[in-house]
């Protein structure tokens, strides 16, 4: 993915290429960087890199990616190439694997109606569970994976049909 500093304008090509346990290999502008990622109870993580430990928190909003590292905060714009996540400003029509992992649990079935924020499925990656949720009210069109299945980065796992609220 491409991450662009919202203000500075610097653009970086960042890709998670591999992980094992708490180790992660990230390609930053063609350069492989190995780091440790240790999840904390408060939802943040410690990134171990070059003999130092960085305490980070992050969030993804519709328009940007927010990160704090100690007292500093950074805002990135995700310059998306590749897979459709719905157009900008539209809710996603697919639940896509954000990283390679194992489908741990699926909370929905075909034709279920979900609210915004409802959990859809849990993916295990890097020994950590990530819950993927509906971004807006939707009907489940098709569940394309099953529990226990390994998926690669970018694989469409669930298809959604948006419904308008109160319809």
């Amino acid at each position: 993915m491409k991450l662009k500093r919202t203000d500075g304008g610097d653009e970086f090509d960042v890709e998670i290429v591999a992980h094992e346990g708490e180790k992660i290999r990230v390609r930053i502008d063609g350069r492989d960087v190995d780091a440790g990622v240790h999840l904390s109870a408060d939802g943040g993580a410690v990134i171990a890199l070059g003999g130092r430990r960085f305490r980070v928190f992050g969030a993804k909003t519709r328009d940007s990616v927010l990160v704090t590292m100690g007292p500093a905060s950074f805002e990135f714009e995700q310059v998306e190439e590749g897979r459709a996540r719905g157009g900008r400003g539209l809710a996603a029509h697919e639940i896509v694997a954000p990283m390679p992992g194992k489908v741990l649990r699926i909370m929905v079935r075909d034709n279920d109606e979900v609210h915004a924020g409802d959990p859809i499925l849990v993916l295990e990656a890097m020994k950590m569970e990530t819950t993927l949720s509906a971004e807006s009210p939707a009907r489940i069109k098709r569940v394309l994976v099953s529990e226990g299945q390994m998926v690669d980065h970018g694989v469409v796992m669930v298809e959604l049909a948006p419904v308008t609220p109160d319809s």
């Binding site: 993915m1 991450l3 203000d7 500075g8 970086f12 960042v14 890709e15 998670i16 992660i24 990230v26 930053i28 960087v33 780091a35 990622v37 408060d42 939802g43 943040g44 993580a45 990134i47 890199l49 070059g50 130092r52 960085f54 305490r55 980070v56 928190f57 992050g58 969030a59 993804k60 909003t61 519709r62 328009d63 990616v65 927010l66 990160v67 704090t68 590292m69 100690g70 007292p71 500093a72 905060s73 950074f74 805002e75 990135f76 995700q78 809710a91 954000p98 990283m99 609210h115 915004a116 924020g117 950590m128 990530t130 819950t131 993927l132 949720s133 971004e135 807006s136 009210p137 609220p165």
Partner: protein, 503 residues
């Protein structure tokens, strides 16, 4: 004098200072009433108080500056005292007068004292009467006199609005040719901003420090001082780092300043907590103004003197004598964490608090109203919280501050924490090379520009965040609120099996 016991205190403010005042009142067993605007309905000061009254829409003029609404709230709740905090109505004599006339105790100086000190020209006269040095200056009158004055003290000179404050209505005049048009423009601006076009001209001190003395006066005519604070580090004439005591100040100058502040307080008939602000140039000091209220930076004085200034304010308003200040201990520093982007000329920022990490430990205090999930808007001032550290020495307080700010983390709102961390950790701050130009001298063009491993770590965190790695519920809900996506249903929707309400 008869003691006027306070049983219920209305706090006419919001944010961290409302929390601070409520805590002070609670210590004395006094019930508290919070007031809040529509924008602050979910703000923590509302939850903390014993009672809460909505006073109007978000716009300050219709809520926190709405004297009528606030007085009504006090009457409805039968509050017998009002604490104005700082800002908003705290220095408006007409409000203090209206509170008094309603038979309610105003926590602050009498309205006429406040009025005299709030007018810069009148305050200068009080200072001169108390033999407190003032910056050589002249009230505007005949243009020839002003020209003569400016040539005598030398350019540049400073034009100030008599009714101004907080750096508003000030302009520097570099040469004689600009004087007349600058006077005209300053007067016009002052008239527009403060409804009072009077201006005066002062000698301009090119490299001053800002040092102020905390005073407390009581209804019996006693005035004491609780040391001084150096507040030189400012952005846009507003303080961002304060410390006590003022470093590199000779004992003789310190003693003279404190005496002058006490004399001025006595001359003004001062009552309650107040601050005498001075400019310091080497060993000379000049009276600047009196802030007739509790200051934002009061905690550094509290920590050194082991006292609670809100409690003192309330006791003074009840008619008690001022405390006997104890010998101060150690050094204290305060950093104001604002919702601002220091890399872009301190422009205001806003957003939901998605995650908050607050430091703790010996000698660390954090006065704030930040809580997870709080929506920070732009209707009010940008102060989010005040980090305060104490140490046996200045260096200990400084290192503790650097460490505390390093532990601080706020996701969702751009804050000045990283900037303040760099300021406190810097060599100019370590050697206390202080002046009101500190930021432009040493930190102009500051950017949170990580490189090397720092940048890589930030990018890895960015890639993880973009992949949905930090997917806790609170963060996700807040992120949705920020993105404008449909929010989670109201928690009320999850309550089932209740009958409709019948009154």
């Amino acid at each position: 004098m008869k003691r006027r016991e306070i049983k219920k205190l209305l706090v006419a403010n919001r944010g961290e200072i409302a929390m601070r005042v409520i805590r002070g009142a609670r210590l004395l067993g006094i019930k508290t009433v919070a007031v809040y605007s529509e924008a602050d309905a979910k703000s923590p000061h509302v939850a903390l108080a014993d009672e809460a009254v909505a006073i109007g829409p978000a716009e300050p003029a219709q809520s926190y500056l709405n004297a009528t609404a606030i007085l009504s709230a006090a009457q409805i709740t039968r509050a017998d005292a009002i604490h104005p905090g700082y800002g908003f109505l705290s220095e408006r004599p007409e409000f203090a007068r209206a509170v008094h006339q309603a038979g309610i105790n105003f926590i602050g100086p009498p309205a006429d004292v406040m009025a005299a000190l709030g007018d810069k020209i009148a305050a200068r006269k009080i200072a001169e009467r108390a033999k407190v040095p003032v910056v050589p200056g002249i009230e505007t009158g005949h243009p020839a006199e002003i020209h003569a004055f400016a040539s005598r003290v030398g350019y540049p000179v400073l034009i100030k609005a008599s009714a101004g404050g907080g750096g508003l209505g000030m302009r520097v005049v570099e040469s004689e040719s600009q004087l007349e048009s600058a006077l005209e423009a300053a007067s016009r601006q002052a008239k527009a901003a403060f409804g009072d076009g009077r201006v005066f001209v002062e000698k301009y001190l090119p490299h001053p420090r800002h040092v102020e003395v905390q005073i407390l006066g009581d209804l019996h005519g006693n005035v004491v001082a609780l040391g001084e604070r150096d507040c030189s580090i400012q952005r846009r004439h507003q303080k961002i780092v304060e410390e006590s005591p003022a470093p590199n100040l000779s004992e003789a100058t310190r003693a003279k300043m404190i005496d002058a502040a006490i004399n001025l307080g006595r001359a003004a008939g001062y009552c309650g907590a107040g601050t005498v602000e001075c400019l310091v140039d080497g060993d000379d000091f000049y009276f600047l103004e009196v802030n007739a209220r509790l200051q934002v930076e009061h905690p550094i004085t509290e920590i050194r003197f082991g006292c609670d200034l809100v409690v003192e304010q309330i006791r003074i308003a009840e008619g008690e004598k001022v405390m006997d200040p104890r010998t101060p201990i150690g050094c204290a520093i305060e950093c104001r964490i604002n919702a601002e982007d220091a890399a872009h000329n301190f422009r205001p920022s806003s957003g939901p608090v998605m995650h908050l990490s607050v430091p703790a430990g010996p000698g660390v205090r954090f006065d704030t109203y930040l809580v997870d999930g709080l929506e920070i808007g732009t209707s009010y001032d940008s102060l989010l919280g005040k980090m305060i550290t104490h140490g046996a020495t200045r260096e200990e307080a400084r290192l503790r501050m650097a460490s505390a700010l390093g532990e601080f983390s706020l996701l969702g709102v751009t804050s000045t924490a990283a900037f303040l961390h760099d300021v406190v950790a810097s060599e100019p701050f370590r050697r206390a090379d202080l002046s009101t130009h500190f930021i432009e001298e040493f930190f102009s063009g500051w950017r949170p520009a990580p490189d090397g491993d720092d940048l890589d770590a930030a990018l890895i965190a960015g890639a993880l965040a973009a992949s949905g790695f930090f997917g806790t519920r609170g963060v996700r809900a807040a992120a949705k609120a920020a993105s404008g996506a449909p929010q989670r249903r109201s928690p009320w929707d999850d309550l089932a099996g209740f009958q409709p309400w019948r009154a």
